[in-house]
């Protein structure tokens, strides 16, 4: 039945492509999380009224974030070719896609982190200060802890955008389902392969969405 509907699909290749997509998404998500949190915190803390209130640093970080968010992902990949080559030593394969994936999505996530941090009640920060909390305590035990549900739901949104980016990265030979759909499906006119890749990507998106939503709900004690 399946071989009639999808005559050109080679299932073992599909599995490899799917694992590559997962691999790229998860590693890029990890990098995005780390850089996004750092940038988001920096944006929040240096903003007017913040603990490290600083107009100049805030302006610099905000500009970097906005510029990288403005560059279309396809162009970002091309732009980063020399950097990627220097960093990874190759331009092909899932690893080569990581710098572009992280640099493309970290600024996006940073904004979501900033929004999440803004949602933390100013009164609670004040209460922590009144107890004699250090800035590091306020960052880790109040700001990040209290905004965890927002940080997780933001990460879910980012993960889904990232899955889309991994498919785009496929065009330059990053591997994964996007790559497979393009080279083995589209270019050979095997539309069943394109269709199968689509189904698998949608399933991956649903998996991330489901886990993200479940986690957010569990963490949200408001």
């Amino acid at each position: 039945m399946m071989s009639q509907l999808f005559p050109n699909v080679i299932w073992s290749d599909m599995v490899v492509a799917m694992i590559e997509t997962f691999y790229m998404t998860l590693l890029a998500l990890l990098g995005t999380f780390i850089f996004g949190i750092m940038l988001g915190l920096l944006l929040y803390l240096t903003s007017p009224g913040g603990v490290w209130q600083n107009k100049i640093i805030n302006l610099i970080v905000a500009t970097i974030v906005n510029v990288f968010r403005a560059i279309p992902f396809v162009i970002l990949i091309l732009l980063l070719f020399p950097f990627t080559d220097f960093l990874i030593g190759t331009l092909r394969g899932p690893n080569a896609a990581l710098p572009a994936l992280i640099i493309g999505s970290a600024p996006f996530y940073a904004r979501l982190v900033e929004i999440g941090l803004r949602e933390v009640d100013k009164g609670v920060i004040e209460a922590a200060k009144s107890m004699g909390a250090k800035t590091s305590t306020i960052i880790f035990k109040v700001l990040l802890k209290e905004s965890t549900p927002a940080l997780v739901s933001g990460l879910t949104v980012t993960a889904i955008a990232l899955i889309g980016y991994t498919a785009v990265a496929g065009i330059i030979g990053a591997g994964g389902l996007g790559d497979y759909a393009y080279y083995y499906g589209f270019q050979r006119r095997s539309y069943d392969v394109v269709f199968m890749c689509t189904i698998l990507i949608v399933i991956i998106v649903f998996i991330f969405q489901f886990i993200g939503d479940a986690l957010t709900n569990k963490l949200d004690k408001r």
């Binding site: 009640d121 009164g123 609670v124 004040e126 209460a127 922590a128 200060k129 009144s130 107890m131 004699g132 909390a133 250090k134 305590t137 035990k141 109040v142 802890k145 209290e146 965890t148 963490l219 004690k221 408001r222």
Partner: protein
């Protein structure tokens, strides 16, 4: 114990300067409940936040137990803040933590071991009457319970002072009363000095020993609660007293009606403090062969006894009435025969 000298705070906004607190002088004794009352915008919150430097003063001094708070370095200030508890109108609990974990937070800041933190948290949960709710999240608590967590949290590091900024203003009257009696309880049990900010005179009346009235960043009147109640000087103070005692004009209107009684005498009893005065009426009834009929009145309980006025019709033998009146005169209750 707490001395405040020439304390000022000016807020710079884009267009103007706002003098939120203006050259304020106060001294607060150890173990007293000191109330600060004023209308919205009077500068009460700014004042209380200057005490633990959540707001940096523009000028002036705050000294607590001979330690000048206003000259402390950031690091020393953090240590001092552990000895100054604070509770808030909107409780400001960490919603991601349970009751117990919220109470343990200041203990984490102070660097206590996990075992000590758990032990201390359990003591405090008992003290504020939250036993059984320790694993609940703030979202599962009522307003009164949330404020109890706030109080427990503020007391965790055995502070010398408790600052309360409108701590009962978000609560219904009944819950307000229960939180106020918890504060009195803590004040008596732990000898804790409490500075209480409010815009509600009945809060002052119920639990404060002394009160300062604030208007436009300055203290316009201060003194024992009883004195301020019985002899308010400033218009703003008079208004606050009317909040709980009603307008004096109402009393006069009532009086003219009361004057129409035909039998016996009409007495106006004025209570100004001292707990003994509360039993005066029953003592008169026991000691003398007279009948007492309470017609009208308004008596409020304060931390230093009852305050207010009662209109009493007294009937019986003229001689007995005369003796009863001179007995009342000999107590702290003031009598006027109408």
């Amino acid at each position: 114990m707490i001395t405040i000298k020439q304390l000022s705070k000016v807020f710079q906004t884009n267009s103007t300067e706002i003098q939120a607190v203006n050259a304020l002088d106060l001294s607060i004794d150890k173990g007293e409940i000191f109330g600060v009352i004023g209308y919205s915008g009077a500068g009460k919150s700014t004042f209380v936040r200057l005490i633990n430097r959540l707001e940096e003063p523009t000028s002036g001094q705050v000294t607590i137990d001979n330690q000048e708070i206003t000259s402390l370095s950031k690091k020393d200030l953090r240590l001092s803040r552990q000895e100054i508890g604070m509770i808030f109108q909107h409780f400001n609990l960490l919603w991601s933590r349970t009751v117990r974990e919220n109470i343990m937070f200041p203990l984490e800041i102070a660097g206590l071991s996990k075992q000590e933190r758990l032990k201390r948290a359990d003591e405090l949960i008992g003290l504020v009457g939250l036993a059984g709710r320790e694993d609940a999240y703030p979202s599962q608590l009522s307003g009164g319970q949330k404020q109890r967590v706030g109080i427990a949290r503020a007391l965790a590091n055995n502070p010398k002072v408790l600052l309360c900024d409108e701590a009962t203003s978000a609560l219904d009257p009944e819950t307000t009363d229960s939180i106020l009696s918890l504060l009195v309880d803590i004040n008596e049990k732990l000898g804790l000095t409490i500075i209480l900010i409010t815009h509600e005179m009945h809060v002052i009346q119920k639990i404060c020993h002394r009160v300062a009235v604030m208007e436009d960043g300055s203290v316009v009147e201060k003194g024992n609660v009883m004195d301020v109640f019985s002899h308010p000087q400033q218009p703003v103070t008079k208004k606050f007293v009317e909040q709980v005692m009603g307008k004096p004009d109402d009393e006069l209107a009532d009086e003219s009606i009361l004057n129409q009684i035909d039998q016996g005498k009409l007495l106006r009893l004025h209570f100004v403090g001292e707990t003994a005065s509360q039993t005066t009426i029953s003592q008169v009834a026991k000691k003398f062969d007279v009948d007492l009929n309470i017609l009208h009145g308004n008596v409020k309980q304060t931390q230093s006894g009852a305050y207010g006025t009662l209109f009493v019709q007294i009937t019986g033998d003229d001689k007995e009435i005369g003796e009863a009146i001179s007995f009342i005169t000999s107590t702290s209750v003031q009598v006027e025969v109408k």
